[in-house]
């Protein structure tokens, strides 16, 4: 999303923010949440997106804007570990994706482990 100088041969300035047909383009990136201190690690969700399948319909951005963003026209970045409080929004995001690229489960890293 960083504009760069330079003219393209077609006359369109390279880096000029051409509105994408498919995304509402949030120029502002989400704030870095690099050192999120959580009281307990137990109330989380785990999320993964199949970015081969993703075609940037951006329905997830509408459903859970705090957890999905587009860098450029199609480059989806997302929160792999949202708080459990985002569960409702994540549910909406999972089901709104036209290609069902999002998988999300409540996190319990001990879940599914046998004795």
């Amino acid at each position: 999303m960083d504009a760069a100088a330079g003219m393209g041969a077609s006359g369109r300035r390279r880096g000029e923010r051409i509105p994408s047909p498919y995304l509402p383009v949030s120029a502002a990136l989400p704030a870095a949440v690099s050192h999120r201190h959580r009281q307990s690690e137990s109330l989380l969700m785990k999320v993964v997106v199949d970015l081969n399948r993703c075609q940037a319909y951006a329905q997830c951005l509408y459903a859970a804007p705090g957890h999905f963003a587009l860098h450029g026209r199609e480059a989806l970045v997302y929160d792999p570990s949202p708080d459990d409080g985002a569960r409702g929004e994540m549910e909406r995001a999972v089901h709104a994706c036209p290609v069902r690229a999002i998988t999300a489960y409540p996190d319990d890293t001990t879940a599914g482990e046998a004795a």
Binding site: P21, V25, Q59, L61, Y62, A63, A96, R100
Partner: protein, 412 residues
Amino acid sequence: MSGSMLFEQILDPANRANPYPLYAEMRKVPVARQEDGTYVVSTHAELARLISDPRISSDDLPDPQKFRWTGHPVTDLLVRPVRAEIRKRHRPFIFRDPPDHDRLRGQVMHCFTPERVRGMRAKTQRITDDLIGKMRGKSRIDLVDDFSYPLPVTVICELLGVPPEDEAQFHGWATQLATALEPNQRGDEETRAKNEVCFNEIADYLQGLIKDKRKDPQEDILSDLANDRDGMNDFDLVATAVLLLVAGHETTVNLITNGMLTLLRFPEHGERLRADPEIAPRLIEELLRYEPPVHYRTRLALADIPVAGITIPKDAPVIFLLAAANRDPARFIDPDRFDPDRPDNRHLGFGGGLHYCVGAPLARIEAEVALVSLVRRLKGVSLTEDPPPYRPGASLRGPRHLRLALNGAAEG
């Protein structure tokens, strides 16, 4: 009736209430040539593939018909031909291909931000609460007239920036212009004439509104589009505004009405939604599959397209029978079963590819707020007639009236 005339039967209003057996028949031939040379695509795999095919064009509207002489030379020789030509070249982006489509849609998407759309949730809830509040003490309502129509109208007018006092006028225009989106009606001569009159009226109105918003910009989409320096010209602006208004009216009404009809037909699901509104997202996606507001869209083949063992020839009209693909047993287990817990529900209720519904996020919010509130607050509600009377459209399909018996509405 042979398969080559099956689509005619689908268009027949007599089959509006339950077209699904015809869809099943249609699916026997995934890409079926009709007698008039149209190719109907009704299976999921083929439709999903073609909806993303670059040889498929959306620029498939018939040319605006010759107008009738009014007897006024300036009108007949100058104004109307110019208007007709302009309209032809400035169709709304739903009927355009890239690069024009991409440019116009991009400009709209730029205003249609998640913040703005989500900001409508509270307003949608307020309107919903008011409309349901009016049902208190009533023993009969018509869900369409009393709720499913007024709600999306108010929401889209607010989003676009149409003053509330002008909404009623839009009701008439939108109903008429919806036929322009309704493929089986727009070919009709009388309809086209009416649409031309209607479009001119709405264009005049919108030109006035756009002028106001340039003088005094507000926090709405029309203001944003009108004041965008690098934005679309006025012809495209009017066409776009009309599209957004009409699409915002005519489809969401049917999503909500079809939704309530389905929940009343299968009360266990209505009950479940009432008890656990968190299932709303998956339930709404299942509604979009099972009883979608848009049943088909039309396209044009720009080149020979090999698919499903045949070749769609260049210049052939193509019909995407989305609602049939949504019930394809090759893709959906037990497709005729309404099942909100269905996994991997990749339905085509909002289309797909380049033209995926712009308003989808808004429609989902409206449907969620509406259906959750309705199941929660309407008391002892039941259908009085099944099937209900349907609107004429075979593509934008939904009940014209959904008359319900009830014991009033609970407090919000």
